[in-house]
């Protein structure tokens, strides 16, 4: 027999169950969905640390959008990883280590979002970067798919203590360089074999090494030209010859060691100079076994006129089209390129933000006053040459590497032959 009490009890249960069911069904529908963005950073310690700092502060201020930082997966080069990710459609929402010259491949694949489609793009970019830098970021179709972010202008680092001990000054021309190199190349034990050299340019034939030996020399010698002209021919064969001959002379005279890859000889104090970007400042301070003073000067040139130009080693930020949250991704990209974020980047990585008139920006003046070495790179940042934006850039640098090996390193062919071969290769590159 059903009593009133039992009926009330049963109805209460039904009401509770119905409420729970409604809660389960309706709450997610009205609640704000949580968004997670994946952000790939370059895998070196400084940049990872910067990325994590930015993500942490963003996450604290934006509880509805979490940014997860991941280092770009290990491989031969970041470009290979990114291309593989594009093919597999496993790209992150945002990547902050894009070599501008491979961007057109991503654009043709529809793998990246056009950033100039965002309403505030013009205002944001105009405030931060100059027209020349933005023009370089523009793709073949006239749209902008990348935010110019930072540069690592390559300069000539020298061991101040070693230079003082040998009584030499930092070289500005090839002739001065060879004089200095002669003094820096010696055996530290009497009658022993040579164990100190002037510099050790890369002995690897992997393509990207040429961006850090031949290309800065070429950029300086050509007074700021890229490798290719508009017709995809060698833009300045004379400068290319000069750069290759300089490297060949260094190897031939024994100023550059021709050994297999080994630990960083500059760090060990066994070479007096090396080409390096601003990232090298924190690296040298952190990794040097025996502390030594170091300084930086522009890349030497063949002529008496001091060089102004060098390779930019620029890296940009892009949003991949696999993202399901383009607006949030764009908001985060803006967040990591604010003036405050650029200051953090500079402080944590010593890398140079691509910011309009950086050296004279009052927000950075205090930092540069206390870090004159970084300031030298920032000044150099106004005179940089990027890589050519061509889908064949890897093949071209690979071919150039083999000519460098044959002519500069081993002297099998004359340097001018190596450059002539490269020029000829450029005419044949579209083989099929």
């Amino acid at each position: 027999m059903c009593t009133l009490r039992t009926i009330v009890k049963q109805r209460s249960r039904v009401a509770v169950l119905t409420s729970l069911l409604l809660a389960v069904v309706l709450v997610p529908a009205f609640a704000q969905p949580h968004i997670t963005l994946t952000y790939w950073s370059a895998p070196n310690a400084e940049e990872l640390s910067f990325a994590r700092t930015m993500a942490q502060s963003w996450n604290a201020a934006h509880p509805e959008t979490t940014v997860e930082v991941q280092p770009i997966p290990a491989s031969g080069t970041s470009e290979e990883v990114l291309l593989a990710a594009v093919v597999a459609k496993t790209t992150p929402d945002i990547c902050a280590n894009i070599l501008p010259s491979i961007m057109n491949r991503f654009v043709h694949a529809g793998a990246v979002l056009p950033l100039d489609g965002f309403a505030d793009f013009d205002r944001v970019t105009h405030e931060r970067i100059d027209a020349k830098t933005l023009a370089y970021a523009r793709s073949d179709d006239g749209r902008v798919y990348q935010v110019p972010w930072k540069a690592n202008p390559v300069m000539l680092a020298y061991n101040v203590d070693e230079f003082a001990a040998r009584g030499v000054q930092p070289p500005r021309t090839y002739a001065q360089f060879m004089d200095v190199a002669h003094r820096l190349t010696y055996a530290s034990t009497s009658g022993g074999r040579i164990d100190h050299w002037a510099m050790n340019p890369g002995t690897s034939v992997i393509w990207f090494w040429r961006m850090f030996d031949f290309y800065p020399l070429y950029a300086a010698a050509s007074d700021g030209r890229t490798l290719l002209d508009r017709n995809h021919a060698l833009a300045d064969p004379r400068a290319a010859n000069d750069a290759m001959q300089f490297l060949a002379m260094g190897f031939r005279r024994g100023y550059f060691p021709l050994a297999a890859p080994q630990p960083d000889l500059f760090l060990e104090g066994r070479v007096g100079m090396r080409f390096i970007g601003p990232w090298g400042i924190s690296y040298l301070e952190r990794a040097a076994v025996h502390r030594f003073r170091f300084g930086f000067v522009p890349i030497p040139t063949p002529a008496a006129k001091p060089s102004e130009f060098t390779f930019s080693d620029q890296k940009n930020i892009a949003i991949f089209s696999t993202t399901r949250h383009p607006n949030e991704a764009w908001a985060f990209v803006k967040y990591v390129t604010t003036r405050a974020a650029d200051r953090t980047l500079l402080k944590m990585t010593s890398q140079i933000p691509l910011r309009r008139d950086l050296v004279n920006d009052p927000a950075f003046a205090d930092y540069f006053a206390h870090h004159p070495l970084v300031a030298a790179f920032a000044r150099q940042g106004a005179h940089v040459v990027p890589l050519d934006d061509t889908p064949h850039i890897v093949q071209i640098l690979d071919y150039l590497s083999r000519q460098y090996e044959a002519s500069a390193m081993y002297g099998i062919i004359p340097p001018e032959r190596g450059i002539a071969n490269t020029a000829d290769y450029l005419t044949r590159i579209d083989r099929l």
Binding site: A111, P257, L258, Q262, P391, Q395, D398, Y410
Partner: protein
């Protein structure tokens, strides 16, 4: 009844057939298709007819890579066979610490190739490497192991032989231990010297193991990749550029999948010819 039996057989074979279709038939078919296209993985493939094959025939770098690989094989395969056979014969004798030595020779086999390559890169270092330190200690000049185009590939071949010899020792050892002891006793009674025993008893009876070792080391040699990739990047002057490293470069550095597939198909065909010749020469029926 018979039909039913056939169906059941097919059913049991199905997982393997699916495996074969997915991992052998499809990739091989796709590679053959790629031979006729230009494809950068991103844009749609473009049909180029026999363009890739024509380019292969005129590509001096490919032929250089093939020559390098053959040089590697010429050094590596005989070195491995002789070393493995001698070590196996020694380890078949009742020597002290035999178990330890059998394990010790096998240790390099289980170490990662990349790790071994990095290790030997240091061993071969011209200025600071262990090998040149020893060479200098006896008054000889240092050898530029990895930076001399004439020495680099044989140096890599030697390192690979060191790494893999333990595996081939195992094959030879099992062959030697399966030779009936009576045959050696009979040979002794006939007045055979130790050399005769080796040449007339051991060698013929380990021929199946010999064939296996030759074929496996030939195939491994043709697939040479990690060692030059890690140690030399294919240099100096392309002297350690193997066919697979060249194929990798086209596939993943240049994103030229069609040409990379062409190199792969050509390599497979060359391997087939070489292994067939080896089989004719070695794998004659034993008595």
């Amino acid at each position: 009844m018979r039909v039913r039996g056939t169906n059941v057989g097919l059913l049991f074979s199905l997982p393997y057939l699916v495996f074969i279709a997915l991992f052998i038939v499809y990739p091989v078919g796709f590679a053959l298709y790629l031979v006729f296209v230009r494809w950068d993985l991103i844009a749609a493939p473009q049909y180029v007819g026999l363009g890739n094959l024509r380019y292969l025939l005129s590509d001096a770098e490919f032929w250089q890579a093939l020559l390098n690989t053959l040089i590697f094989l010429c050094v590596n395969v005989p070195l491995q066979i002789v070393a493995a056979l001698l070590i196996a014969i020694a380890l078949a004798q009742p020597i002290a610490l035999r178990g330890f030595f059998r394990a010790a020779f096998f240790v390099p086999v289980v170490i990662s190739v990349a790790v071994v390559s990095l290790l030997w890169q240091q061993v071969y270092n011209t200025d600071t490497g262990l090998l040149n330190t020893l060479i200098r200690a006896i008054g000889l000049p240092a050898v530029p192991w990895l930076t001399n185009p004439h020495v680099a590939m044989p140096a890599i071949a030697g390192m690979v032989a060191w790494k893999n010899v333990g595996l081939y020792v195992l094959f030879f050892l099992s062959g030697i231990l399966s030779v009936p002891a009576q045959l050696y006793e009979a040979a002794k009674l006939e007045g055979a010297s130790p050399w005769d025993e080796f040449w007339l008893v051991t060698v013929p009876l380990v021929r199946p193991a010999m064939f296996l070792v030759v074929v496996l080391s030939t195939i491994a040699g043709f697939n040479l990749f990690i060692e030059p990739y890690v140690m030399t990047g294919g240099g100096p002057l392309d002297s350690t550029l193997s066919v697979v490293l060249y194929m990798y470069k086209h596939a993943f550095s240049f994103l030229d999948m069609g040409y990379a597939a062409t190199i792969g198909v050509a390599l497979a065909a060359i391997m087939l010819v070489v292994v067939t010749i080896e089989r004719r020469l070695i794998d004659e029926p034993t008595v």
